[in-house]
């Protein structure tokens, strides 16, 4: 996706310095990610879920019963909203959140120990399985947490909280020399 330089990232100030070499435990901040909240209408939840789940390039994050945060790495915001509206065929309301949320991707051998310092959810691989997602608190910040790979998690946070969450995560990772950079 083409980057629009008029669109400022919430962490532009925090991550302005030159990129660092990633350590074993590393925090990546997606410079540009598209997502929308899908609110399924009553009795259409299952149909909507299935319609979106059928799309391999769209990642569904559970937000509430009948509500998902749908993340795309290829679509532009308006394109994603249009596509979701078509997919859901009137069965859901779609709200663009591409500018309202920031995605953090954290990966590494100590990722669970780091996240356990803020998140009261059992992150054991057998319990929080690959593809799982949940709205949780990280410290005092509300996030959507998803496990996207063996030792990789994504945290999606409301934009206004992004700097606070960033500071928190860096402190949680201090003992493991966690590094951070924009991913593109």
């Amino acid at each position: 996706m083409v980057r629009d330089y008029n669109n400022r990232h919430a962490l532009e100030q925090k991550l302005r310095s030159a990129p660092v070499a990633p350590a074993a435990d590393h925090l990546m901040v997606g410079h540009w990610r598209t997502m929308a909240l899908v609110l399924a209408r009553a009795d259409r939840e299952e149909a909507v879920r299935r319609a979106i789940a059928s799309q391999p390039d769209l990642s569904m994050r559970f937000a509430a019963p009948g509500e998902w945060l749908v993340v795309s790495e290829v679509e532009a915001p308006s394109g994603l909203v249009r596509r979701l509206e078509e997919l859901c065929d009137g069965g859901a309301y779609v709200v663009d959140q591409s500018d309202g949320r920031v995605v953090f991707r954290i990966t590494g051998p100590n990722v669970r120990s780091i996240l356990a310092k803020g998140i009261g959810l059992d992150l054991h691989p057998a319990t929080f399985t690959l593809g799982g997602s949940a709205n949780v608190l990280c410290g005092h910040v509300p996030v959507n947490l998803a496990r996207t790979d063996e030792d990789t998690f994504e945290l999606i946070v409301p934009r206004s909280y992004a700097e606070s969450l960033f500071d928190d995560l860096m402190r949680m990772g201090l003992a493991f020399d966690l590094t951070a950079a924009f991913s593109d």
Binding site: A63, A64, P65, E67, G120, L121, D122, A134, N135, V136, L137, P142
Partner: protein, 92 residues
């Protein structure tokens, strides 16, 4: 109860993800119900020592209101259901 609540949508979650609204045992009166019914609904509580129903809001999770049925003396939880389901069941 006071450490963890099992959200029917999100699973076991820490208490700090929730905000407690209060008594869930009584439904909102109809517009034409008596003054007394409205007064009791807004201001009077059974406040039992024992089994009670309470609205817990999963603020930092699914943002659903839940009805937690539990014991006020032992903190044992008997059930947790979605408040909409609870309300619809009550009106049926």
């Amino acid at each position: 109860m006071a450490s963890l609540i099992t959200c029917p949508h999100c699973g076991v979650r820490p208490k700090e993800e929730f905000a407690i609204r209060g008594d869930a045992s009584r439904g909102r009166p109809e517009p034409m119900d008596s003054d007394e019914a409205w007064h009791d609904y807004v201001y009077v509580r059974a406040n039992p020592r024992g089994r009670t129903q309470e609205h817990w809001h999963h603020v930092a999770g699914c943002r659903r209101f839940l009805v937690v049925e539990r014991d006020t003396a032992t903190h044992e939880v008997y059930s947790v259901v979605d408040a909409a389901e609870f309300a619809l069941r009550a009106t049926r």
